[in-house]
Symmetry: C2
Subunit: 422 residues, 2 copies
């Protein structure tokens, strides 16, 4: 008997997972490689950073998800390159895995526009470690402020800057403002956390540029009502331990979070194919790499045009749709039948929360804001979580936060806190 | 009006917390200093290390606990010494806090009997970071074994050694064996996790020396039924990256956990008073330091004799009883009334779990084992957790694990996993 067709999937994010799911029963042996042991529900990562959810509520061991799929082998390893001529994926440590078909779904990380040195002072939010780093820095800043004798230093400790006003930046700013202004007052004896500043900086002309103008304006008003200072058309020209520089001015801050740009994984480099400015591999309409019909690139690391000329956005639904599309192509190739035409992105709507009880929802024709939108947002996210246990746990955490106004994951871990306040 | 009496409490563990609670309404201003922002429910820490519970389910921000106590100021800072002559506590970073009365409740850490270099390869279990380190190493070992081509290295990756068979060692061994033999099989394609070895090494003649001999024998049988190899009267003479050396023999292992000894905090050194062999400050019957009537030492860092001549054990109930005792002494001093005589320890019983559904309970006259003991153990621990939210969350996690046989916190975080397998 011939060995079955071997598909290697690199990356267990939304795209990779959907692909593997949809290939159940197909005549193919699958190897799924990820450098993490878990699939991460990134749309809720900001809630881990802001002490609402625990890490284990939004992440699941990949190998557990495919426990009952004997056709799937999961490998925890980092891919360092691809040899398309030898049809081989190279693993760090010197190993290699050969493939018949390869799907790269390796995602993106944050980009500092040529200023990678900013990362140390202004972490982005892509991994569980990023989330706990931001949580630790934010909580530690309040603790250090309580001990600080110098007024200027205290003020810098109580100033939180978020760079970039996409959904992640807006969601972080809203919750940090709530923590400072509504949750922490009363717990400190020397500082008044209600005086903490939360500053959201956006280079563009409005926040949440992906939403309609009226929803974006509503979100800005809602953020301001929570006490967030919103600075649009403002470009950060420097970041360091003292704070951020914006043109002529400066904001002294000890806690900066970067939510401004993304940089694709090096999939295009590995394959030696052209990439766009953000490093995304420019793929064909069927999501294959140009000249490499057995190699697909999907999700945040692929650059694909929509019919309206815009790029398919780097969001979870787009990655899932691409995973499902490639599964159909692979099935058609192996089982016969008609392969689908080029990939077409269906916009399933944009959602973002502003603080604990408000959200905006943009379905194109239908637009909602406020409490109702928050409930739709919440139900949608619980629906998309994996497994009964997580749905219960997250629903319980949210209900608790909603009713008690308390966050449950306010822990400083990983040692920085042991470096005592200056 | 005179400044109220200033009490400084160092350490927000079981003893320090009980003390502060019991002083509610007393004519005293309290400053509680801890180098962590959270109180940790250490008796369940092994469940975080073994992927059953999330970190936030067993830890609570100290300042949140005393939010409504205007008389309590919480400081996140590390104490580096005490100046008893100046009645001052020294903080790292150069700060200082003066006191009228001082209580040191600074706990203990693990001891390597003069081999501190073993810590890097054989972490102990005292902090949340320790727990996530052990969790990461254990999960990563299985992942690396799945990728390993060499049989001997694969075997070393699938061998887990726990040194020390007190309650923590026994509880870790039981759950690690269950994970390897009952939870993970079916998720890996190249290794058979049922063949993983879990070895529990104890220098003494029996495991769980704090329990009666029949319960200790029962626990050993129960562990063996779970597939744990129990080696008593076996002394570890060396630990390194390859494994442990036991006398003439050696066990190749990539995952070693240290549950063998404790070393008290340097409270005795700070005060310049005698300490016992484990570094515990030898205190008077009323828990004051000899020659320093305004300084108390309580909990795991104090050495106090019971009436039977044995030392009060380093367990949570003892620390709580000492906190409550010192609160009564301080009240008597400030409010008048009779100060209690010397501290007397009431043994409230010993509990330990063996795996997921069995436990032993030793109340002196009443001894229980098996499933009923497990339920008593579970209810007791849920009762002692802090807050409705945690009780629900932990009860839900346990119920889920009990019914589904699945653990919810199987995450590899903090980067070691990014160093790919060799």
């Amino acid at each position: 008997m011939a060995e079955p067709h071997h598909l290697v999937v690199v990356g267990g994010g939304f795209g990779g997972l959907q692909l593997v799911k949809d290939l159940e029963g197909a005549p193919v042996r699958i190897t799924l490689v990820d450098r993490r042991n878990h699939h991460l529900f990134q749309p809720l990562l900001y809630q881990v950073a802001t002490t609402i959810l625990a890490t284990s509520e939004i992440a699941w061991p990949i190998r557990r998800l495919f426990r009952d799929r004997a056709d799937v082998t999961t490998l925890l390893s980092e891919v360092t390159g691809v040899d398309p001529a030898a049809k081989t994926v190279l693993l760090s440590g010197g190993g290699a895995v050969s493939y018949d078909t390869l799907v790269l779904a390796t995602g993106a990380t944050h980009a500092y526009f040529g200023h990678d040195e900013w990362e140390a002072v202004a972490p982005g939010l892509k991994t569980l470690e990023d989330a706990t780093t931001i949580r630790r820095r934010m909580l530690t800043a309040f603790e250090r402020a309580e001990l600080e004798e110098d007024a200027a230093r205290r003020e810098a400790l109580l100033t939180f800057v978020i760079v970039g006003a996409g959904p992640t930046g807006v969601e972080l700013a809203g919750i940090i403002a709530e923590i400072a202004h509504q949750i922490l007052p009363g717990e400190f004896r020397r500082i008044d956390t209600r005086k903490a500043r939360v500053v959201l900086i956006e280079a563009g002309s409005r926040i949440l540029a992906g939403f309609s103008e009226d929803l974006s304006a509503y979100a800005e008003r809602a953020l301001k009502a929570l006490g967030v200072e919103v600075l649009t058309e403002t470009r950060v020209t420097d970041c360091d331990r003292e704070g951020v520089t914006i043109g002529e001015g400066a904001i002294a801050s000890r806690t900066i979070v970067w939510a401004a740009g993304v940089q694709a994984s090096p999939a295009a480099q590995w394959l030696g194919i052209p990439a766009d400015r953000a490093g995304r591999a420019i793929v064909q309409a069927d999501l294959t790499a140009p000249g490499l019909p057995d190699v697909f690139v999907i999700g945040d690391t692929a650059s694909v045009a929509q019919e309206n000329g815009k790029l398919v956005p780097g969001v979870a639904p787009a990655a899932k749709q691409q995973g499902a599309f490639v599964a159909r192509v692979i099935r058609a190739r192996l089982e016969g039948g008609e392969a689908p035409a080029g990939f077409r992105y269906r916009n399933q709507g944009n959602l973002a929360t502003i603080g604990r009880r408000s959200a905006i929802v943009d379905f194109g024709r239908i637009r909602l804001k406020g409490t109702l939108a928050w409930w739709i947002w919440g139900l949608a996210h619980i629906y998309f979580l994996i497994g009964t246990r997580s749905r219960f746990a997250v629903a319980w955490s949210w209900l608790w936060t909603y009713l008690s106004g308390q966050h449950s994951a306010r822990l400083i871990t990983q040692g920085e806190a042991q470096n005592p306040p200056r």
